[in-house]
Symmetry: C2
Subunit: 119 residues, 2 copies
DNA sequence: GTTTCATTTCAATATCTCTTGAGATGTTTA
DNA sequence: TAAACATCTCAAGAGATATTGAAATGAAAC
């Protein structure tokens, strides 16, 4: 997913807040399946009102999706948008500068190669 | 350069503003050598006061460095911090999730492989 | 040492963001 | 349909952030 500048600005703003960054972490760990709003709120220590505010913010920024399931509203990380943001950072913001790309590529290999065990 | 959560939050906040994002782009293109504050300000259409405000913000966030050179103050992108941010996004924020890392790695290869010509 | 140049600092203002608590909405169960 | 549950919405207030123009700082040239 290719992000334009406005989408990237919104994504950066969304991630620049402690509560929301924690929420994204929780939702990434939860995977495609996602988590109910209440569970996310509890996980990051936010009130229901505050959780709703921040989850809406993340959704507006395109970083998470939501769906209703019975009484709950389930939020899930938008992995496509997250990888799009990494891509934006390398390609648009950093203009594909060798130092940044090389460092990032190495980090990717070190932390979490998709088809082999991490070191 | 490994960013902790506070540094990453500051970096995201710094990049979530249009003027500052443009400044980072200009400074990345300029390379290690950097650019005087006035030139950066002109490049992004900011007044001297506004340019100073935003450059300070970027410096506090660790994304750029500054040095005095005669009358000018030269700002330069901190490539180490920028690649650290990409790394943070993949490893800490996205927990090394395969979808994100794979997408980002592919994007890196597509846009700007460090040891071969870009496609 | 006065002038010019480049940049920062300051103060005032406007705007955005976050938090809180109360109340509203939609869903399920009895 | 009433009660319980999960979440959202709203309004008020506190705090952070951005913009502007004027004044202050630091460095170089005359």
């Amino acid at each position: 997913m290719k992000l334009d500048e406005l989408q990237a600005l919104a994504a950066f703003a969304a991630l620049s807040q402690e509560t929301r960054l924690s929420m994204v972490r929780s939702l990434v760990v939860a995977g495609e399946q996602g988590l109910p709003a209440g569970v996310v709120g509890d996980a990051v220590g936010a009130s229901s009102s505050s959780a709703s505010f921040h989850l809406s913010h993340l959704e507006r920024a395109g970083l998470v999706t939501s769906r209703r399931e019975a009484r709950s509203i389930i939020y899930a990380a938008n992995f496509d948008a997250l990888s799009g943001l990494v891509e934006f950072l390398m390609r648009d913001c950093c203009q594909g500068h060798p130092d940044v790309v090389a460092g990032a590529t190495k980090a990717a290999a070190d932390c979490c190669a998709p088809d082999e065990q991490a070191g």
